[in-house]
């Protein structure tokens, strides 16, 4: 009985394959099978890859920075927040809007070195736990989240509950007399600026590497 595992010659002529050419190593049947498989793979790839790119495309889309006027320089106070509504995503009505809490820069409060250059502080109402809308409660001087009990102080730093980092902020600028709110950025517990992250993603220590920012949205 012939040994199945014996090393056979690589030449088809030596393996007694009918119609073998001299020096041929791939049988014509094998070649045709490979060609058919390749053609099938190309045809399948021709509709799978564009569809996949189509589904994943928006993730990598670079949207231009969007600045929105929220009031005049004199409409905000130094020691309390005013709620303003800005549009994050145009075209989807109420679903694309969010509340931002704005106040004037206060040298007595905003002692962190990263806030020095901005004249207005804009704090996102998106909870850093899982994204519910926090509310500024004036009497308690706290931001309070209705979903899972996250509590933040006047500067947006976590003082209670499950949030993983302080509240996000928005860049602000003054154009003439108008205060404008721009792109979002995230901060760690020392209020150091980071590229925007989704809620629930800590930024202290190893967190900033475990939760990479998206390449299309970087801090300014």
């Amino acid at each position: 009985m012939p040994d199945k595992h014996a090393k056979s010659s690589k030449y088809t002529a030596d393996r007694n394959i009918p119609g073998a050419f001299e020096g041929e190593t791939v049988t014509r049947r094998r070649f045709m099978t490979g060609t058919a498989h390749t053609a099938g793979a190309i045809a399948a790839g021709a509709f799978t890859l564009p569809a996949l790119g189509f589904a994943l495309g928006p993730i990598f889309k670079n949207s231009p920075h969007h600045w929105e006027t929220v009031g005049t320089v004199n409409s905000f106070s130094e020691d309390n927040y005013s709620a303003v509504v800005v549009t994050l995503t145009p075209g989807v009505g109420e679903a694309g809007k969010t509340t931002v809490y704005v106040r004037k820069f206060n040298p007595a409060l905003d002692t962190d070195p990263y806030d020095r250059e901005s004249r207005f502080i804009a704090i996102s109402s998106r909870c850093a736990h899982l994204g519910c809308p926090v509310r500024w409660v004036d009497a308690a001087e706290r931001f309070i989240c209705p979903c899972h009990g996250g509590v933040y102080d006047l500067l947006g730093r976590r003082v209670g509950g499950p949030p993983a980092r302080p509240l996000d902020r928005f860049y602000t600028r003054v154009v003439g007399e108008d205060v404008q709110v721009g792109p979002r950025f995230s901060v760690n517990s020392e209020l150091r600026r980071f590229s925007p992250r989704d809620p629930g993603e800590p930024l202290d220590g190893i967190g900033q590497y475990l939760y990479p920012s998206r390449p299309s949205e970087q801090k300014l």
Partner: protein, 270 residues
């Protein structure tokens, strides 16, 4: 005394001989009912002659089941019927639904619930049926686990079942957004952000679900497409594989039934 051979009957004259029934003809004179029955059988025969489907149907339905088979064995079929109910009501809800995040989605659901004939009923079937299906999936899974019915050679069917469980939960998650009311919107925000808390791939996963960094114009239609095209296709394919393996491997007896061994067989083995 030997019996005499019987003489053959004398031949009838030709006009009195009844012709034999033609093939496919019931005994000659059937009523309308019999004719309809014959027509049905003819159609089934015609299909079966060309596909041999009846063998497959017999293989699937007329199986041997172990002694002790009881009502707990119907939990899988119950789940299947919950799925079919979801599929049928979902198809008809899709005829009215508009995945428009600027207000059209909520308005279309409001229209179905308040104005369409039986709309509230069909939507209620779909809404409550989803919870029923999840509960039944877990009961079915618990039965399989407690009976030990996941053991060799049925491990693959357990694995397929776990994938089906995950797909069912993905259906629940994506379907929750579609009414597009406050509860749906914020629950989806929270759900997508829970996905995002997975290290390294989490942020990309939530970006895929939202179709970008923020809840946007395509998020709702994306959830809708996942809910009614992508996952149902996978579910149907995997339910087919699940049922095939059930028919192929058979069901297990309940654990309290001892395997009965013939005493003679034991002696012969010794």
């Amino acid at each position: 005394m030997p019996r005499l051979p019987k003489l053959p009957a004398p031949p009838l004259p030709a006009p009195f001989v009844e012709p034999p029934p033609r093939p496919g003809e019931a005994n000659g004179k059937g009523g309308v009912l019999e004719g309809a029955q014959e027509a049905g059988i003819t159609v089934v025969d015609w299909v079966d002659e060309r596909t041999s489907l009846s063998g497959g149907v017999r293989w699937m339905l007329f199986r041997k089941v172990p002694k002790g088979t009881n009502w707990f064995y119907t939990l899988g079929s119950a789940t299947l019927f919950a799925f079919l109910s979801q599929a049928v009501t979902g198809v008809f809800l899709a005829m009215y639904y508009r995945p428009d995040a600027a207000g059209g989605a909520y308005e279309s659901i409001r229209h179905v619930t308040n104005e369409v004939f039986l709309g509230q009923f069909v939507r209620g079937m779909h809404k409550w049926g989803s919870s029923v299906m999840v509960v039944l999936v877990f009961l079915h899974m618990g039965r399989t686990f407690i009976w030990g019915a996941y053991k060799y050679p049925r491990e693959l069917n357990w694995v397929i079942g776990v994938v089906l469980l995950i797909l069912t939960l993905v259906m629940s998650f994506t379907g929750y957004l579609l009414p597009f009311d406050q509860r749906a919107y914020w629950a989806t925000i929270v759900g997508v952000n829970i996905n995002g808390t997975g290290p390294l791939i989490g942020p990309y996963l939530s970006d895929f679900l939202r179709g970008g960094g923020e809840f946007g114009a395509t998020t709702l239609s994306r959830f809708y497409a996942i809910h009614m095209l992508l996952i149902p296709g996978l579910l149907i394919a995997l339910i087919g594989a699940h049922l095939y393996l059930v028919a192929k491997l058979g069901t297990t007896a309940p654990p309290w039934r001892e395997p009965k061994q013939e005493p003679e067989l034991l002696e012969a083995e010794v």
